[in-house]
């Protein structure tokens, strides 16, 4: 697995650049990850990111767009506004969790 240096810290990532170690993430790192993909973080982004992390921790799986709406309280339209075009992947990247596994 590659190790990349972000903000002077060594971070474990997969071949695409998604974090592989849940505990290497913190909010300062998230800000840099967001800037890397040109996302300006707002309170609504943080709501989504924090739910994604909590849910991943509890379920062992990244929430899908549908779960973000039905359980996380961030509706689908909002997800596409917050993380344009590829909401699930972009949110996962910033939240330091794997890409969603399921089809829907």
């Amino acid at each position: 697995m590659p190790v990349t240096t972000i903000n002077g810290r060594e971070i474990h990532v997969d071949d695409e650049g998604f974090l592989t170690e849940f505990d290497e993430w913190d909010e300062d790192l998230a800000k840099i990850l967001a800037a890397n993909i040109s996302v300006d973080l707002t309170d609504e982004h943080w709501t989504a990111i924090k739910f994604a992390r909590e849910d991943y921790k509890a379920q062992g799986e990244t929430p899908t767009i549908r779960r973000m709406a039905s359980v996380g309280g961030v509706d689908t339209k909002k997800m596409f506004q917050l993380f344009p075009k590829k909401p699930a992947k972009k949110m996962s990247y910033i939240a330091g969790v794997p890409k969603p596994h399921g089809c829907v």
Binding site: P2, I65, R66, T76, K85
Partner: protein
């Protein structure tokens, strides 16, 4: 193996690659045949791809308000229909018996729900919220004597075959 990279490794989300366009022709109204297009369209939207669904012939039931909540699955003619346990195939001679269709429908609905996948109307809601475009076929509307008021609200318009062909210029097409 550990490799060290100098510049931060950032996923390539291909934001500038906006050319891809995909269209699904939904021609079936059986519950099991409603899902392939919905699942794939939803996935395409999640990848930032312009996505269209065109409902025609039996696929019209997927967007007809009075029918879309109640699509059925039939084991008749489906030799791949197995019982959930024991890998037992349902004999075709039994498939048309009374009660088989509701049982099979319930079984498939339960299996889909267990995966957290929504029912057809709710799935269409999600596709529309994700920016997907839904279109109804003019000939099917005329055959069924249905107008836009009879159709799911997310359907943008009833369009004819030429409109659809024009609209999908350059798109990848899937007929289901």
């Amino acid at each position: 193996m550990t490799t060290e990279t100098q510049a931060p490794l950032v996923p390539n989300f291909d934001d500038d690659d906006t050319d891809r366009k995909i269209a699904f022709i939904c021609s079936k109204g059986n519950l099991d045949m409603a899902y392939p297009a919905l699942v794939l369209a939803n996935a395409a939207l999640g990848e930032g791809i312009e996505t269209h669904l065109f409902f025609t012939f039996w696929g019209f039931d997927m967007i007809t308000k009075s029918r879309m909540h109640d699509l059925k699955f039939s084991p008749v003619g489906n030799t791949a229909m197995h019982m959930p346990v024991g890998d037992i195939r349902i004999p075709q001679a039994l498939a048309p018996l009374p009660g088989m269709q509701p049982m099979a429908t319930k079984m498939i609905k339960d299996q889909i729900a267990a995966l957290g996948v929504p029912e057809v109307p709710e799935f269409l809601d999600q596709i529309v919220a994700s920016g997907g475009h839904l279109w109804a076929c003019r000939m099917s509307a005329d055959m069924n004597k249905l107008s836009e008021e009879d159709l799911y609200d997310g359907v943008e318009a009833i369009i004819n075959a030429s409109d659809f062909i024009e609209m999908t210029d350059g798109a990848q097409l899937l007929f289901i």
